[in-house]
């Protein structure tokens, strides 16, 4: 399998790395330290590995790293960190939408995209927006509540 040198901009940081042709974006990101992108099914079913690729949510396990050459990648830590949480993250905390936390990085990515595209989502919109993110712990209810509350928070923030 041939090797490629690729350039990525991950959470605003330029990264140059050598990848094998069959190395997935998920594995490559984790190998260079972005372990907040979670590895579970590696088959596109769970959404734990969701990242933004040039602003679009993708499952990082479903593409080769080489295909991402030249792109901008945003992981959960590019959306918000401990000292600077995104409203989705704040509300997941407040509303109890996180238990074990394994699904959470992917949920944050999907929820952010959802709110960017639809600032006032209904419960059904949220259900659909998170349909690709499995959570085994919460039963989803508190995640839905968190996303609704985050939408309100973002909208009120805009209005002020």
């Amino acid at each position: 399998m041939s090797a490629y040198k690729i350039n990525l901009c991950v959470n605003g940081k330029d990264e140059t790395l050598d990848v094998q042709g069959d190395e997935t974006l998920l594995r490559a990101l984790r190998r260079i330290g972005y372990v907040e992108v979670k590895l579970s099914c590696e088959g596109g079913d769970c959404g734990a590995c969701a990242v933004l690729l040039d602003g679009v949510a993708v499952n990082a396990c479903l593409m080769f790293a080489a295909q991402a050459d030249g792109s901008e990648i945003t992981t959960v830590r590019g959306i918000g960190t401990e000292d600077d949480l995104h409203p989705v993250q704040e509300q997941l905390i407040e509303k109890g939408g996180v238990q074990c936390g394994f699904c959470t990085p992917g949920i944050v990515v999907s929820a952010k995209v959802l709110l960017d595209e639809n600032p006032e989502p209904t419960r059904e919109d949220i259900q659909r927006g998170l349909a690709g993110n499995l959570c085994r712990c919460t039963g989803y209810k508190k995640i839905f509540e968190a996303v609704s509350a985050a939408a309100r928070q973002v909208n009120e923030g805009d209005g002020s």
């Binding site: 907040e36 936390g101 039963g139």
Partner: protein, 756 residues
């Protein structure tokens, strides 16, 4: 008692790190120089290993070590039966059984090494059906176990034959449950590091760091349990499945042999085919009744599918057999159980520990009975529930109980009376209840050093006024450590935000059995509460000296020691610790109540018991059999709610997990081969499946619980399957689901059957 923290809705204490992706799960742990460990698993359900040649794999550049029966001693281990070994010896007994393992420089090399291992198998006939397995000429899974019976028992309690003779009515039913996986999103993994001198450090997503040393690592490796330092990484969900983790053994053995650190991460597929999913059971029930709906007696016969190895299965079977008899006043019972070996993945414990299966069967049967007697199913239950102060026929002592309140809530909230009056037209409601232990004395004997079921805690206050809690119990994501922090915060008058509870570690933490049997809130919570009281006393004693005010005239408020009479005379907790010149600490230990059951399974296995009632409303398409869950309503008695947000999360998560089990899950073994290999063929509930859920808590204020609290994780899942099936029965005018999961085909068949 009025409380400041307890009962309030709090985020879990590690929520910030979790939402920002900073939590280190096992696969994220860096272990410099670590080799990659992988297992070669049997492709056959049952096969004799004629020859095993690992030489080509050993010669491959980058391979450090290859382990198999050829170079490891035969050291059988197992919790109830020593029927398992690290690697297959003469036979492979299920698809996924570990035949060999390699440690290599990287994953690619490790995979190549696996492909170079040559195994000559003689494929043997598969024992797949637990009934056929008992036939006289059936092949044997373990050659020394005749009839493939791993365990059996037969007990009679009370005047059972007389109860049936004198009954006004008697009813019989049969139910079958399926092989379902815990399906946590984080695949299981462990890492190990051998140290010169022979000690081994192990890390992993484990439910019990202490016990894995005593029941698996020590005996299988011929070492003493304290040769291992086991450190938990936060599990990405566990639900019972990460109690019994063979990956820990693989990592430790490879590391010892290679004298290098080894990471052993399972793929999701390996996890689905080679962990320990929920035990499938076949349950026959007969019950005897008085005309007015009083239960007179019951007979239960169980055939439980053990799979290839036993682990905790005998205890699970016994739990299935006896559990529901304690929920209702049951004057007499006869119970027979058989646990049968098959060539299928070994079954095991999942949230509910058999109670999901038992409750599904009995609570479905109860609705059939109610229908036949012409009684309302809720009324039938209310007439027969156990109550506080009862001692059940098996010897269970009910110290607190609010199941009737939970049921009345569900009835009211669901508009039960009106909806029950309109059944049979494709829409219906049903409910079901359960009882569950808060810790189980039996496990302390099977898994622990003796019969004490202890927990201990250390609470340490540092010079900044921050508090760290050490407990050998485990957080699996359910918020157990947060519960400890809230309890200690309540006791100590120090804000919750200042508490930290690190993952469990046998290296420095006091002993704890770990997270299973809904034991942590009660047993771990009591130990931590006592430790916090001790720490508070020590803080006040130290402050008394510096402030020259007697300790009993001081209090701690918002992290400050204040004179009760003169609140302006105060010192921060951190300052007290600094002036004292050291960390101020408190210790506590708590021994669970209850007994180890006698040979006849009589006794009180737990300090106290929790209860719940779940209701479901469904719509059934009578033409296609498709069921839509319109809503779920849950009433729980957790004794006392410690953290409202966390308790609600347990209920919502449990109900949806249970609904998922009932409606869509299943590893679907066919002649020993499993269908479920990834989340596209092992389906679990997605956000699209999540129904609206209502819930409330009925606090029975348990006399033994910390602030009155008892376990909640498992009562949150147990009754929902039966509630859904009872709602389907009501919606369809009598279609009874006797085999899980509920599929449109099964619903249509049941509708057909009901029409006859």
């Amino acid at each position: 008692m009025s409380t400041r923290v307890v009962g309030q809705p709090h985020p879990i204490i590690d929520a910030v790190e979790k939402v920002s992706g900073a939590t280190i799960f096992i696969n994220d742990l860096e272990l410099p120089g670590a080799l990659t460990g992988l297992a070669l698993r049997s492709p056959h359900p049952h096969a004799r290993i004629l020859n095993l040649d690992t030489s080509a794999a050993e010669r491959l550049a980058g391979v450090a070590v290859v382990l198999s029966k050829n170079n490891t001693p035969n050291a059988p281990f197992g919790i109830n039966h020593k029927d398992e070994a690290a690697f297959c010896r003469e036979k492979a007994r299920y698809v996924g059984d570990e035949v060999a393992a390699v440690a290599a420089a990287d994953e690619e090399t490790a995979r190549e090494a696996l492909s170079l291992i040559r195994v000559d198998y003689e494929v043997l006939p598969t024992v797949a059906d637990p009934f056929a397995a008992q036939e006289p000429n059936a092949p044997l899974v373990h050659d020394s176990v005749t009839g493939n019976i791993a365990n059996e028992f037969h007990i009679k309690r009370g005047e059972i034959d007389e109860a049936f003779d004198a009954a006004d009515a008697a009813f019989a039913d049969e139910f079958h449950t399926h092989l379902a996986h815990q399906a946590y999103i984080e695949p299981t993994g462990c890492a190990a590091q051998w140290h010169p001198g022979g000690k081994i450090s192990v890390w992993g997503c484990l439910q019990s760091v202490f016990l894995i040393r005593t029941f698996m690592l020590g005996p299988a490796m011929g070492m003493s349990p304290d040769d291992f330092r086991v450190t938990q990484t936060k599990p990405g969900g566990a639900f019972g499945g990460k109690l019994d983790v063979k990956a820990a053994l693989m990592a430790a053995m490879l590391s010892r042999a290679a004298e290098k650190p080894v990471r052993f991460m399972m793929s999701l597929e390996e996890d689905l085919i080679a962990m320990r999913p929920r035990m499938p059971v076949h349950i026959s029930l007969e019950s005897a009744w008085k005309r007015d709906g009083t239960l007179a007696g019951k007979r239960v016969r169980i055939v439980a599918e053990n799979g290839a190895y036993s682990s905790l299965s005998p205890a699970i079977m016994s739990s299935i057999a006896l559990r529901t008899d304690n929920l209702y006043k049951t004057p007499a019972a006869e119970i027979q159980g058989k646990l049968v070996y098959t060539n299928i993945i070994p079954s095991g414990q999942m949230r509910g520990f058999g109670n999901v299966q038992a409750t599904y069967a009995w609570e479905s049967h109860l609705d059939n009975v109610a229908d036949s007697l012409g009684l309302d199913p809720a009324e039938l239950r209310l007439k027969n529930y156990t109550e506080k102060g009862d001692v059940s026929l098996h010897g269970w002592k009910i110290a607190s109980c609010a199941v009737a309140d939970a049921t009345r809530y569900v009835v009211e909230e669901m508009d039960w009376k009106a909806k029950r009056a309109r059944g049979g037209k494709g829409r219906g409601v049903g409910l079901a209840s359960c009882i569950h232990v808060s810790g189980n004395k039996g496990f302390s004997v099977e898994l622990g050093p003796d019969d004490t079921d202890p927990s201990s805690g250390v609470v340490r206050v540092d010079e900044e006024g921050k508090v760290e809690i050490w407990s050998g119990e485990s957080d699996l994501g359910q918020g157990a450590t947060s519960v400890m922090a809230y309890i200690a915060s309540e006791v100590m008058g120090i804000p919750v935000e200042r508490f930290r509870v690190p993952p469990t570690d046998t290296g420095y933490m006091p002993f704890g059995m770990g997270a299973f049997a809904s034991r942590i809130t009660l047993i771990g919570g009591n130990a931590v509460k006592l430790a916090a009281e001790d720490a508070r006393r020590n803080l006040l004693d130290a402050a008394a000296e510096f402030m020259e005010i007697p300790a009993d005239e001081l209090e701690i408020v918002e992290g400050e020691v204040r004179a009760k009479a003169l609140p302006e005379r105060k010192m921060s907790v951190g300052e007290v610790v600094r002036r004292a010149g050291s960390v101020i600490e408190g210790n506590g230990k708590w021994l669970a109540g209850g007994d180890v059951l006698d040979k006849e399974k009589y006794g009180n296995p737990s300090t106290t018991y929790s209860f719940s009632t779940h209701g479901a409303e469904v719509e059934v398409d009578m033409e296609t059999g498709v069921v839509t869950i319109l809503g779920i309503c849950c009433g729980h008695d957790p004794g006392r709610v410690i953290n409202r947000l966390g308790a609600e999360g347990q209920v919502e998560g449990g109900a949806v997990q249970g609904m998922s089990f009932a409606m869509m899950e299943g590893l679907a073994p066919l002649e020993g081969h499993l269908r479920g290999k990834n989340f596209h063929d092992y389906l679990i509930a997605t956000s699209m499946d999540a129904p609206p859920i209502e819930h409330d808590f009925f606090e029975s204020m348990d006399p033994y619980g910390p602030y009155g609290a008892k376990g909640l994780a498992e009562v949150a899942i147990n009754p929902i399957t039966a509630a859904i099936c009872n709602a389907i029965y009501h919606a369809t005018g009598g279609a009874r689901i006797r085999t899980l999961p509920v599929s449109p085909e099964r619903v249509l068949e049941a509708i057909e059957e009901a029409r006859k």
